[in-house]
Symmetry: C2
């Protein structure tokens, strides 16, 4: 499958497509907009729209299926999917690295793209706040020296000798140039799983930490962590923890704030500040999740009003009675 | 650029996006639906729709830009594009191989995906009829032994030593198993260009051969050449040449028929037979080019009538006066 994500144990493919799920390997295999080849959709009037082709190239008229990918079920219900699956890799390798600063995380990424190139299949990062949470709440062990940032790099390729050679040249280079201060490698199932758990189980650790305010954001990669730093300063002792992690290779940050209990004043301190912050750098306030009903009124921070009006016209055309997943994705009144 | 195609010397990026151009390396870098990150579009009422983000992940509302990709300018005019460019490869290698049958072309492709994996960037094929045309009309030289089929394989990677090793293991294997009877390799600019010319200049050679009837078709890859074989038998001496070439890795066939002069009876022998043939295997009658005005009435061979009706509703909504690239892409009357 070209898609892999933390929710893989419980999510459904129809939901993945309806929310245009991103996940861990978008960096390598691209978005569902490129990998979904066909869809069957049930429309609001109960009729079935069959766009279930499995062709890589098909330019016969408009690509209707795109409208349903990421529409969160508000335009139709996805009932069948045809998806392009890449060749299964013969070799998978993982590196878990400790970086002394975010600027080193970025430099490591640039080096990585150059030296690992086509075998790079994930470039994830987490800050030390995240590491402390998985250690405390889930009893996981940090496999490297404590550092402000950690990076998880995955390679997937057809030749294990070549891949290991590329990875060891890369590691030599980043250690010699002090981009990375410590690291560990894995090429067999159990250790790979243990290293991925450090990154994939952050969400679980956060829920153990208290009430969680969650933000899923896209930003230019060099600005990615500034938002976390600013938020830490802004919230200070009002928050229990302010942490950042995510899919750095895709410019996708998961910003999370925890507190002992729900507080309206804390929420007011975060929102709309976080959306204004993202908007000034032309980022996205909802990167790989949908707007749902919580964020539909904030859509104008990422989209101009002409675009929202056009979306509302599509909604009225395809679902005139508003019966498909009502109250989601779009504001019901015109955005000004 | 993630896109490369025969028309690279004269095409424009706005046109590429408007027609959802496919080309030579879709196999590796995917379609424009995945690589186009943002668009600026002028709508029928003269207003500008700004969807010019450059984010890899953005799920804030419906992805409006998708509607304009591949709509052939009938819904809006693309005036700016933001596109995701992959890392430039350090090493590029080409192999030009001679195959004794189409079934061997297919087996070579399967072997190729397994042994070259992530470095494979193009898998093109041409039949001997195409080779004879480029030899006769363009004075190009066949670099390998004359065979019923030829395959052009391109690899693009970050490490030339690794890539050459993969390629030579692959070649050893396909020669030993008699999938390939002769072959030549290229890793430097001039020879690479000369080998690509054999494939890229087929269109030019065809125009020198007489009147050309051109078809751009997607089919399940194992059925791809049967259409050419059937057409040869069907047209017999009525055609001067019936040849097939194309992007085998994407299931995309370019079927071409030439004749000394235009003949309505020859066209009637080809159409709608070719569209019926494609339709029975759920193929596409317009793979990487658009329907334009010549093929708009044949859309129902690839799309169900519910889909065409929905497309017509989009057209009416976005261009009520029908002023954008009129008479193209969609039939004006309802398809039954």
């Amino acid at each position: 499958m070209p898609l892999d994500l933390g929710a893989k144990g419980s999510c459904h493919i129809g939901g993945n497509v309806a929310t245009n799920a991103g996940g861990l390997r978008l960096l390598r295999y691209g978005s569902l907009r490129g990998t979904v080849l066909g869809l069957e959709v049930v429309l609001a009037d109960g009729s079935i729209l069959n766009c279930l082709a499995s062709l890589r190239k098909d330019n016969t008229g408009y690509d209707l299926k795109q409208l349903f990918i990421g529409s969160e079920g508000t335009l139709g219900v996805v009932t069948a999917v045809s998806i392009l699956c890449p060749q299964k890799p013969n070799a998978v390798n993982l590196a878990f690295l400790a970086c002394p600063s975010f600027s080193q995380v970025l430099k490591t990424f640039i080096t990585c793209k150059d030296m690992l190139g086509e075998i790079l299949s994930a470039y994830e990062f987490m800050d030390n706040g995240c590491m402390k949470l998985v250690e405390r709440h889930l009893k996981l062990t940090n496999p490297v020296a404590e550092s402000p940032f950690y990076v998880l790099i995955e390679t997937s390729g057809s030749n294990s000798t070549h891949d290991e050679e590329k990875l060891s040249h890369f590691l030599e280079h980043v250690m010699d140039s002090d981009l990375v201060v410590d690291g560990t490698l894995a090429s067999e199932g159990k250790k790979i799983k243990a290293l991925w758990a450090l990154r994939e189980r952050i969400t679980e650790a956060l829920t153990c930490d208290g009430v969680v305010y969650k933000y899923d954001i896209s930003l230019p990669v060099e600005k990615l962590y500034d938002l976390v730093t600013d938020m830490k300063v802004r919230l200070d002792t009002d928050a229990k923890n302010v942490v950042g992690y995510g899919h750095l290779g895709d410019g996708n940050l998961h910003l999370n704030v925890t507190a002992e209990s729900y507080s309206h004043s804390l929420l007011d301190a975060i929102e709309p500040y976080v959306y204004e912050w993202v908007s000034q750098y032309y980022g996205s306030i909802s990167a790989e999740h949908g707007l749902g009903f919580k964020k539909k009124h904030y859509i104008h921070y990422s989209k101009p009003k002409e675009a929202v009006l056009l979306m509302q016209q599509f909604k009225v055309m395809l679902d005139p009675k508003g019966i498909l997943n009502p109250y989601k994705t779009l504001p019901s009144k015109a955005v000004r």
